[in-house]
Symmetry: C2
Subunit: 148 residues, 2 copies
C-alpha cells in the first residue's frame, strides 16, 4: 500500500511548481506585490490526482489552465501555504534538486507571514530568493525592475 | 520522512510511461515483435531522481533521449519488468487512471514471460491490450497492421 503523503511528494517532484511571481500593484505601499503559489498541473483525463491533493491538503482550488488543455490545482493563500503545504514538504521532503527551490519558497512564505515583505529590505530579499528559483521559467519583470 | 517506494510511484504516476511498442522483425516467427518498457524522463538538471529509480529497482539504464534534451531511465528486460517493476507497482499502486494502463502492461509482460506472444492468438491479444493503453500516444503501425 502506497503512503499517500510520500506519493504526493513524489508526484509534486515531477509535476509540481513552487513559484513566486511579481506584479506592479498600486494597492501596495511599495508599488509591488510578491505572490507565492504552489501548483500541480495535469490533463483533464487524470484529474483524480488533483482531487487527491485537494483532499489531502484540505485547501486550494482546481481550475482550467488558460494556456493549454490542462487543469491546475493551486494554493495561493499564504495561511494555507504556511499551515498545510510547507509542513507537508518538510515532513515528506522532495528527493530531487527541486528541494532547493522549495526551501527558498518556504523562506519567502514565512517572511511574508511575518510581514517582512512590506518593507523594502525584506521585499528586496524576497526578490533575490525568488530569482534564484525555477531559473528556466519566464518572468514578466526583470530582477532590477522589482528591486526597490 | 518520505517512504521512497511510495514516492517513486507518485513520481512515476506523473512522469512515467508503461509502453508496449511494436515492430516488424524477421528474427521472429510471426514477423512481428512486441516490446514492453517502463520509462521515466527528466531534464538533465534533475537526473538524481532517475538515479534513485535505478538504485531502488536495481536494474535498467539511463540514457539521453534523442527526441529532446531530457534523460530517460528505462527498463526493457522482460525479466526485470516481471521481477522488479511489476511487483513494485503492485505493492505501491498508482492512484490515478494510469493504473489501468499498468494493469494491461503487467498482463502483457506476463503473457510474454509465458511465451504466449510466440503464437498468433497470444500475439493478437497483446496487440488488443496494447492499443487500449496510452491512447493519446503515436504509433508507427496501426492495429490492423500488427494483427496476424
Amino acid at each position: 500500500m502506497a503512503d499517500v503523503n510520500s506519493y504526493l511528494s513524489g508526484y509534486a517532484d515531477g509535476e509540481g511548481c513552487f513559484c513566486v511571481s511579481f506584479s506592479k500593484s498600486q494597492r501596495h505601499n511599495l508599488g509591488r506585490e510578491a505572490r507565492p503559489s504552489f501548483s500541480v498541473s495535469q490533463n483533464s483525463d487524470r484529474m483524480e490526482i488533483l482531487e487527491l491533493f485537494k483532499k489531502q491538503f484540505g485547501c486550494g482550488y482546481i481550475r482550467p489552465d488558460r494556456s493549454d488543455k490542462t487543469f491546475k490545482y493551486e494554493i495561493r493563500s499564504i495561511q494555507h501555504l504556511i499551515k498545510k503545504v510547507i509542513p507537508h514538504f518538510e515532513a515528506y521532503p522532495l528527493l530531487s534538486s527541486k528541494k532547493a527551490d522549495f526551501k527558498k519558497f518556504a523562506e519567502i512564505c514565512r517572511m511574508i507571514s511575518r510581514k517582512e515583505h512590506l518593507k523594502s529590505r525584506g521585499f528586496n530579499k524576497i526578490v533575490d530568493l525568488a530569482f534564484e528559483m525555477n531559473v528556466s521559467g519566464k518572468r514578466k519583470y526583470s530582477k532590477s525592475e522589482m528591486k526597490i
